[in-house]
């Protein structure tokens, strides 16, 4: 028999989130009659300081030895209340968190009476749990004071610099041959007239040469094992194919027979299978072979002695305490024929147009033609209206309005006689970016609002390109705009990363971007302990927002690994050696390799659990034919008693 407990039960209104549906007064009345329940109370916000203080005072005054709080999801506040009971002198695990918001009031808003009964059942189960609970102790492990960063764009680099400056060891893994990501490819970015690569360069200047930073390019994460504080990571590094810089790179490039679209100008031109440093200050500063497209004809090796085509892939194994994922975005690639993209050379995406501008001298030209009129079509690949089962990007890509406004102002300053038409749905130059919109208006950009159900049409006949659109601002007048160039203001999509996603198992949201733990209060945390998301892989962001989120991720990673040790939850499997008959089924079942056979004194060989590796999944509990294994904090007896209590009428 379990000892008599003195249990306190606290029912939260959650403002009205719970109490608008659940009759909290009735719940308190019923529960206060349960055996072992010494006190039961309700309160508007149990998680507030006042609520926590009430619990602490009750624990001391009424000599409680266990506490149930019935409120929101334990994901939100289990730790809050464990803290409160600990301050009052109880063991933090003499606590049960009953979820009567997500699982009751929110789920059964249309049936208050049944919701109230369900809340009572939840709490009764909690009381039963605590009758059989025992004080537990956290498991303390050492944490590696190092962090892995996946992705070397502006976000990854910012995180790396912050963590390095905080005194942690940093390993940065970049899949491409150069760091810098999308940012490095951009022309002048707002709010200063700085080029994308200059932004990257100003971070790199600080980062390179720090002795606690290792940067791997042409590298990919192949496996991640271990746990928070002690991840083991395998990274594969492809050779660059170059031992050093080439004397005459132009000649080397010219002998290569391969032609593929050049991703560094978004496919505007072609490149060969040798990728030269694509912008000033690119890191590393030596070229790389593009192994995917190289046919090893060795013509390049004949003209340059720095080239080595037979180096092997290297593998490094890293031990890190935390992981920051900063894999960024890719620009939306319009479908073939979407606004004549792909079929007319006079239809470009926004990133391609930026490259065109960057390359132009005093005159904006496409081929030999001078460009006088440009039509920008907004929201291409963003805010798509769903039709049928087709997967669409229903989200707003956030940065595009600002980017196109900035670009327009800059090109109007630079080229004479340009006429710009912006075909938009809403102008979302939020915050201070509004000033760029104002400037664009003043400089004579013409804004035409289109209806998402009647999008513009691009018509090409011979040498003429015409954009037809109905303007909502002038009584849906149909306009035909002859244009030299149509620019599709394309949004962001998550970088495709199937292999990495399989390895990390990070949760992914409906929009395809990584899902944060809580959109407001935990924007860089994920449900996987020790793994953080930074930059545009979490959702569209501009440069400023990306570096903020990566610094925030760095802060969170640092709070975990800076102290050098981490406490793990004690909910691990425990073998009763006297009941174990060495069936070894648990050893086979355990997905984490946490169970071994060991010699116990006086009992011989029996199963034994390495509690640092054990995740408390319970597979061994179910497999054991003798019922010799229990999970601490969730024993078989507790589960049975909870079911019995919840089922009671």
């Amino acid at each position: 028999m379990s000892p008599n407990r003195r249990i306190g039960v606290y029912v939260c209104w959650c403002g009205g989130n719970i109490s608008d549906v659940v009759d909290v007064k009735k719940v308190v009345e019923v529960i206060s009659k349960e055996s072992d329940v010494v006190v039961a109370k309700d309160f508007m916000f149990m998680c507030s300081d006042a609520g926590q203080r009430m619990i602490e005072e009750d624990v001391k005054e009424k000599k409680l030895d266990a506490v149930v709080v019935a409120s929101c999801s334990p994901k939100l506040h289990e730790l809050t209340f464990r803290g409160a009971v600990t301050r009052a002198g109880l063991n933090p695990y003499m606590y049960y968190h009953a979820n009567i918001r997500e699982q009751v009031s929110w789920a059964h808003g249309n049936d208050p009476a049944e919701a109230t009964r369900k809340a009572i059942r939840h709490i009764r189960a909690g009381v039963a749990y605590l009758r059989h609970a025992e004080p537990l102790k956290k498991i303390e492990v050492k944490a590696a004071r190092s962090v892995l960063i996946i992705g070397g764009g502006v976000a990854g680099l910012r995180s790396a610099l912050d963590l390095s400056r905080m005194g942690l060891n940093v390993y940065l893994v970049e899949r491409e041959p150069f760091v810098g990501g999308n940012t490095a490819k951009l022309w002048e970015v707002y709010p200063y007239k700085r080029k994308g690569w200059e932004v990257i360069d100003s971070i790199l200047k600080d980062l390179l040469g720090r002795d606690n930073v290792a940067i791997y390019t042409n590298a990919e994460v192949r496996s991640v094992s271990g746990y928070l504080g002690n991840f083991e990571v395998k990274v594969e590094i492809k050779p660059r194919g170059f031992r050093g810089r080439c004397e005459d790179l132009e000649r080397v490039v010219s002998v290569c027979p391969i032609k593929v679209p050049n991703e560094y100008d978004f496919g505007l031109t072609n490149r060969c299978a040798i990728i030269a440093p694509p912008y000033p200050g690119a890191y590393p500063e030596i070229p790389s072979i593009d192994w995917k497209n190289c046919v090893k004809c060795r013509k390049c090796a004949e003209v340059c002695d720095q080239i080595e085509l037979d180096d092997e892939v290297q593998t490094v194994r890293l031990k890190v305490g935390a992981i920051v994922v900063a894999t960024g975005f890719r620009p939306y690639e319009p479908r073939q024929g979407e606004y004549k993209y792909g079929s007319s050379e006079r239809v470009l995406t926004l990133p391609q147009f930026m490259k065109l501008v960057e390359r132009s001298g005093g005159e904006l030209k496409l081929g030999n033609r001078t460009i006088r009129t440009v039509v920008f079509i907004y929201c291409v690949g963003s805010r798509q209206v769903p039709s049928g089962d087709e997967k669409v990007n229903s989200y707003c890509s956030r940065y595009c309005c600002n980017a196109v406004m900035n670009l327009s102002v800059r090109i109007l300053d630079r080229f004479n006689g340009l006429k710009l038409y912006h075909l938009f749905r809403d102008i979302r130059t939020y915050g201070k970016h509004e000033l760029m919109y104002e400037e664009a208006c003043k400089k004579g950009v013409i804004f035409i609002k289109y209806d998402e159900n009647q999008p513009p049409e691009v018509l090409v006949s011979g040498k003429r390109t015409i954009v037809r659109v109905r303007d909502l601002l002038t009584e849906r007048e149909e306009l035909e705009i002859p244009s030299d160039l149509v620019v599709l203001v394309t949004g962001m999509e998550p970088t495709p990363n199937e292999k990495l996603n399989e390895i990390l198992k990070l949760p992914i949201g409906k929009d395809g971007f990584y899902q944060e733990m809580h959109p407001k209060l935990k924007p860089v945390e994920t449900t996987l302990a020790g793994m953080f998301i930074a930059g545009a892989c979490q959702g569209p962001k501009d440069i400023r927002e990306s570096v903020l989120s990566s610094s925030a991720a760095a802060a969170k990673a640092a709070t975990l690994v800076l102290p050098g040790r981490i406490e793990l939850e004690p909910f691990t499997a425990l073998v009763d050696p006297e009941r174990c008959n060495l069936s070894k089924r648990c050893v086979d079942e355990c997905p984490y390799g946490a169970i071994q056979i060991r010699r116990y004194e006086g009992l011989g060989e029996k199963a034994w659990v390495n509690e640092v590796l054990c995740k408390g999944c319970g597979a061994c509990v179910a497999a054991c034919p003798n019922g010799a294994i229990n999970i601490r904090g969730l024993t078989n007896v507790q589960i049975e008693e909870m079911i019995r209590a919840a089922g009671r009428e």
Binding site: W13, C14, G15, N17, M44, F45, C47, S48, D49, A50, R53, C72, L76, H77, T80, G83, D162, R165, M166, G167, Y192, S202, S394, Y395, C396, R398, C401, D426, I427, R428, Y430, G431, K432, H433, L435, L472, L473, T474, E475, F513, H518, P519, L521, P523, V524, Q538, R544, E545, V547, L548, S549, S550, S551, A552, A555, K556, A558, T559, L562, P563
Partner: protein
């Protein structure tokens, strides 16, 4: 000059006694989040809040977009956490008077700790509130209801301790006689504490735009024209009337209008920028109102709907699907009818740009944000720079937006520019990282 001001003039200067790693100014969600990150990394934090409770503006909100979490539910734990963390010392009802940079990573700060006239023994039982005979408008409800002169700021205040508003107190002494622990002490004196800190983080947030200045909208004159912050209070779990009622006659409104860009994107008011949050909080309030008042019509008058953040566009589409009406056009003026209804004059852009009129029985002005950056004045020696509109200037918007013009002084949240809660929390985290990196580099 009020009684309190006279008392504050007599503050007693204390000798410098303690030093901290970081001084965080402002106890809203930005200051709290950054303080907790820094404290978790092992730094000693001094958090100073000028109001009698931490919580800032976020605490006041009802549910927050785009997930409709209850704001107080998710912010109260963070408020409680800063008061419990062993590495955080919290001074509420205190103001920073002076910050002087002595040398790299060495700042001297003077902080005025105002007297609450209630000792720390206060248990927050609220007996003093009950007996106090004086009623004044409650700051936390933007005047929608009253509070006493002896009062606890709100139910879940941190610290949950009473204070006495001496400017309105009539010295009847009832609170003193009633207090069960004898905590009321009218003889408390203000003190000025001197501290040394190695870094400073400014998180003083924003003020609401004073929309009285837009006289065409009649705020302050027409009873049924309220601000969106007042609407948020009407919708909050700690709401004053437990219902949404219009002020003039206590009637449930049946036709509610939102006027977006009230005090934003408006050169005539010298605030040309967009306030970044008003579209979304209005869309949120529209959704909540359709739940609270199923029969009421909700119309949103807008210039552009700026649903730019993660999940925002979907949230906007949801409001449309629920039946909120969106009218593109700026409201030119508002007039009051005899029965306190309101006539909105606006340009109906999607219908040929005609000048149109519509009658509503409650109008919500979606007011913008203004910087709360007067803190720059306490800096002595070096200048903490602001931009033309008064927001703290970032040293580098692209590379490190939370650094300011003074090395060792950082900023986060709305004091840098208008922003929503997700962006504020990101900035707070970023600031914590930059402070930690700075402290680690400058050494002890």
């Amino acid at each position: 000059m009020g009684v309190m001001d006279q008392i504050l003039e007599k503050a007693v200067e204390e000798e410098e006694a303690v030093s901290y790693d970081v001084l965080v100014v402002g106890g809203g969600i930005a200051g709290e989040s950054a303080s907790l990150d820094l404290a978790d990394m092992g730094f000693k934090v001094l958090l100073v809040e000028k109001e009698p409770s931490v919580g800032g503006k976020m605490y006041l909100l009802s549910k927050v977009f785009p997930t409709l979490d209850c704001a107080s539910c998710i912010s109260t734990p963070r408020m409680a956490a800063v008061s419990h963390h062993p590495n955080i010392i919290l001074h509420t009802y205190s103001e920073v008077l002076e910050i002087r940079k002595l040398s790299e990573s060495d700042f001297q700060a003077r902080i005025l700790v105002k007297p609450r006239f209630v000792e720390d023994d206060c248990t927050g039982c609220g007996q003093c509130e009950k007996v106090c005979p004086v009623v004044v408008p409650k700051e936390y409800d933007f005047g929608l209801r009253g509070r006493k002169a002896a009062y606890i700021p709100f139910d879940t205040a941190v610290p949950k301790k009473a204070l006495i508003d001496l400017d309105h107190c009539i010295f009847c002494g009832q609170c003193e006689r009633t207090c069960p622990v004898g905590a009321v002490n009218f003889l408390q004196v203000p003190k000025v504490v001197k501290v040394r800190v190695r870094a400073v983080l400014i998180a003083t947030g924003y003020e609401l735009f004073s929309i009285e200045r837009k006289t065409e909208y009649g705020y302050g004159k027409f009873k049924n024209v309220i601000t969106a912050m007042q609407m948020d209070r009407l919708l909050a779990p700690t709401r004053p009337f437990n219902a949404v009622l219009r002020p003039s006659d206590g009637k449930e409104p049946s036709s509610i209008a939102f006027v977006l860009c009230s005090g934003s994107r408006d050169r005539t008011l010298n605030n040309p920028i967009c306030s970044q949050v008003c579209c979304m909080y209005s869309v949120k309030q529209a959704q909540l109102l359709m739940g609270a008042l199923p029969l009421a019509d909700v119309t949103i008058y807008y210039m552009d709907i700026r649903a730019f953040g993660k999940g925002f566009e979907e949230f906007y589409q949801q409001a449309k699907a629920m039946g909120a009406m969106f009218v593109k056009g700026r409201v030119a003026k508002i007039e009051e009818t005899e029965n306190d209804d309101l006539v909105l004059w606006y340009e109906d852009i999607e219908n040929g740009g005609r000048i149109s009129k519509a009658v509503h029985d409650l109008v919500v002005l979606s007011v913008g944000l203004k910087p709360n950056s007067e803190i720059v004045e306490v800096f002595k020696g070096e200048v903490l720079e602001r931009d033309e509109l008064g927001w703290i200037r970032s040293r580098d918007e692209n590379v490190n937006p939370v650094e300011t013009s003074i090395k060792g002084v950082f900023a986060a949240g709305c004091v840098l520019g208008p922003k929503d809660i997700p962006d504020t929390v990101l900035e707070a985290g970023a600031a914590a990282a930059q402070v930690a990196a700075y402290l680690n580099e400058v050494g002890v």
